[in-house]
């Protein structure tokens, strides 16, 4: 038992930290720390800076541009990323689509798509959920009909995060509506979003922000060569991807930074002549959050340690990181809003009015983070997974 990092790992942490300090553009960092909206240009610019350093896709095999870091180094890298206030790398291309291509793609597909994911030239988004298919994803209806060397796609996706930035979208589509087992009628298809017949419509969330979209497909013609794995084997691909989505879902580094921000906020607010940070009621809630962060971080490290020793993927238990990580992010954003008290109310200036923009983002952030227990497999679905796969219920 040794909970410390080795000298080499500490040196690596310092290397990442100082590189981030030198290379993370100040305007991007400020936007992240001020909880401002990041444009596609912002995200791509940052991606390209990382790519120039060779750090855009650390977890990839070295021959495709990965760093060859072990899992502890990757964890440290993500941790420092979060602590520094670096814009997150959207997972859809580098983490998700790339994992699928590496596992199921043909050489031609890999050569065609992976370099452009690595370089940030293609921005990928995910087409999974549909209006009638949320947690019950296998009920999806978006139809892809094979006609010669093309698929013709009709239907609708929803909750497409950053769909309005997307150059490409990977979709689960129904290729066999008559399959006896519905999972066996689904395929995994890559679609160029510039193809005629695709319409992206924003869905504005209760924080006023535009992150998610509806994507409509109206007789969209997709070359059959864009099919991943075999036709009707898309569910196998989707299941493979689920584990990837959950491993990084703890967001411990970012939560640690948020906690620091929360403490700063609470030390400036005055209650009964003392900083709110010293108020017993507030303090107890804050401490419980701090304890949860420590527990989550240690649990994440235990998973990593086990993966390193066994060489095996983490298994269904990793769902607990998503469960606890999302609850934690929600708890922090809620406490930040509550720390402001009545000042959490102003939202936007109207007419000639203005608001303190930083403070005005706290309540909307609390609103926005309600998503974390809903997306990427709702927390109820995560519990179903643990119940079935780990506990055998």
């Amino acid at each position: 038992m040794d909970l410390g990092y080795s000298t080499e790992e500490m040196a690596f942490r310092n290397e990442v930290r100082s590189w981030l300090a030198d290379n993370l553009p100040a305007d991007l960092r400020e936007k992240v720390l001020a909880y401002q909206h990041l444009s596609k240009e912002d995200l791509v610019r940052w991606h390209k800076i990382l790519d120039a350093k060779g750090w855009a896709v650390p977890h990839w095999p070295v021959e495709w541009g990965g760093t060859g870091w072990d899992i502890t180094q990757r964890y440290i890298f993500n941790d420092e990323f979060g602590l520094a206030g670096a814009p997150g790398i959207a997972p859809f291309g580098p983490a998700m689509c790339a994992s699928v291509l590496m596992r199921f793609g043909t050489d031609e597909q890999k050569n065609r798509f992976l370099p452009r994911i690595r370089s940030g030239d293609d921005f990928w988004v995910q087409g999974y959920s549909e209006p009638g298919s949320g947690s019950d994803l296998a009920s999806l209806k978006t139809r892809a009909e094979r006609k010669g060397d093309k698929y013709v796609v009709n239907g609708q996706k929803i909750w497409t995060t950053l769909g309005h930035y997307g150059d490409w979208i990977f979709c689960l589509v129904r290729t066999d509506p008559n399959a006896k087992i519905r999972q066996e009628g689904i395929s995994f298809l890559l679609i160029d979003m510039k193809t005629p017949g695709i319409t992206v419509r924003p869905l504005i969330l209760m924080d006023g922000g535009h992150e998610v979209n509806e994507v409509f497909f109206d007789n969209v013609e997709v070359p059959a060569e864009n099919l991943i794995h075999d036709e009707n084997k898309g569910w196998t691909v989707a299941k493979y991807l689920l584990g990837h989505e959950r491993m990084g879902s703890g967001n411990v580094g970012a939560s640690k930074r948020e906690l620091q921000t929360l403490r700063e906020l609470a030390s400036k607010e005055i209650k009964n002549g003392k900083p709110l940070l010293q108020d017993a009621r507030f303090r107890d809630r804050l401490t419980r959050v701090e304890v949860e962060i420590q527990a989550l971080e240690l649990t994440s490290l235990r998973f990593l340690d086990k993966m390193r020793r066994t060489g095996q993927p983490p298994g269904a238990d990793v769902s607990m990181l998503k469960l606890k990580g999302s609850e934690l992010q929600q708890a922090i954003t809620e406490l930040m809003m509550q720390a402001l008290g009545p000042d959490a109310q102003p939202f936007v200036g109207v007419e000639d009015g203005h608001v303190d923009e930083y403070r005005a983002r706290m309540a909307p952030r609390y609103f926005n983070y309600r998503k974390t227990s809903i997306y990427a497999g709702s927390n109820e679905i995560q519990r179903n997974i643990i119940a079935k796969m780990t506990l055998g219920l």
Binding site: M1, D2, D284, Q294, T299, R302, A387, L393
Partner: protein
């Protein structure tokens, strides 16, 4: 970074687990709890043979020089079996205080007997009405004629009824050249003026309220320097708290395993009740909170073993105890609820786990106490 127990640590826990499975099952434990002394000397001798009493004592005192991490897996096994023998109270508290604070003569007189299981010690520090305070106020020691006179009262001294010697904290005042403060004394349990009012705790351990009336102690009964024992006590209680956290993990794991088994076998409405999602999700939450608590128990054990900065140690132990107290409450309450009426009965181990976890949540400070202490060391 390595979160695994060493081979020796695992082997010790496995042989202990095997022994307890055979010799400390539910019925045998019940017999021990109901016996006159409430502890089994046979079990204690076996613990000593296995090296449990020696593990965390210095090599100079006949121990193995180990720490909380070395004992963790074994404590977890004790937690699974709901062991009532005062292992933690000896290796975590009383013997540790003697080993770290005592003179050569004191260590030589007491520790070999602890190591080989010949006798037990107990640490008397809690005082009536003062909750979890670690300094002594209501028990005093006056310097007199080359020795000391001890007066006062200690509450819930676990292990006192079967201890040969008590380590007692007392307030010392008026010692020339030394500040007022808390001191430690070694007191024979059968000394004149020591009154032991024994009880059984709700989780089946033996404890006592102990009264000291004009107890005359020789000068060499003092452990360490007069008035300066508080840091020593705080360290030992933190160490013992880390062990208690490991013990709690064992009990929670046992409660969870039993509940999961019950969900799979108990049928209602023609189906195992574990097929109902309302119960599945609660079971998952019990499982997850136990894993989170395990992470914090590991953290606490590693931090107390690190030595070094007392503030960092206190923060880590308090963080762990907050999590363990919350988890113990959730797991114990939910395991009873998911067992339905049967969970309420004495016939199932679940209710005994419930009692143990409830007491663990409060021992050495409940969640509120540790939330406050954590904030103090910000």
């Amino acid at each position: 970074m390595d979160f695994e127990f060493s081979e020796e640590q695992t082997q010790l826990a496995e042989s202990l687990r095997k022994y307890l499975a055979n010799e400390y099952d539910f019925e045998k434990r019940k017999a021990i709890v109901k016996s006159a002394s409430g502890v089994s000397d046979t079990v204690w001798a076996t613990f000593a043979d296995m090296g449990l009493t020696a593990l965390a004592l210095p090599e100079a005192d006949g121990g193995f020089g180990g720490g909380a991490v070395d004992l963790m897996a074994a404590m977890e096994a004790c937690g699974e079996a709901l062991v009532v023998e005062p292992l933690l109270d000896n290796v975590g508290l009383a013997a540790r205080l003697v080993a770290r604070g005592g003179s050569t003569a004191q260590r030589e007189a007491l520790l070999p007997g602890v190591v080989d299981g010949r006798h037990r010690l107990a640490f008397a520090y809690l005082e009536p009405g003062r909750r979890y305070e670690l300094d002594a106020q209501k028990t005093t020691a006056r310097a007199q004629a080359g020795g000391w006179v001890l007066d006062g009262e200690k509450s819930v001294v676990i292990g006192a009824p079967s201890a040969r010697v008590l380590v007692v904290s007392a307030h010392t005042a008026g010692v020339a050249g030394l500040p007022d403060g808390t001191s430690l004394f070694l007191v024979d349990a059968d000394a004149a003026g020591v009154s032991i009012n024994a009880c059984r705790t709700v989780d089946g351990q033996r404890a006592a309220d102990v009264t000291f009336t004009g107890v005359k102690l020789p000068a060499e009964a003092l452990v360490g320097t007069a008035g300066g024992a508080l840091p020593l006590i705080e360290e030992a209680v933190d160490f013992a708290t880390a062990l208690l956290c490991a013990d709690a993990i064992g009990t929670m794991k046992n409660a969870n395993d039993a509940t999961l088994e019950y969900l799979k076998t108990r049928k209602q409405f023609g189906a195992p009740i574990g097929s109902f999602q309302a119960l599945q999700h609660r079971m998952v939450d019990m499982y997850v909170v136990c894993e989170q608590a395990r992470s914090m128990a590991i953290f606490a054990a590693a931090k107390v073993d690190e030595g070094g900065d007392a503030g960092a140690r206190k923060r880590a132990v308090s963080a762990a105890k907050v999590k363990i107290a919350d988890a113990a409450r959730q797991v114990s309450q939910e395991s009873v609820q998911l067992h339905g009426g049967m969970g309420m009965t004495e016939e199932l181990k679940v209710s005994h786990n419930f009692r143990r976890l409830t007491m663990i949540a409060q021992r050495f400070g409940d969640a509120d106490h540790h939330l406050e202490r954590y904030a103090t060391f910000d």
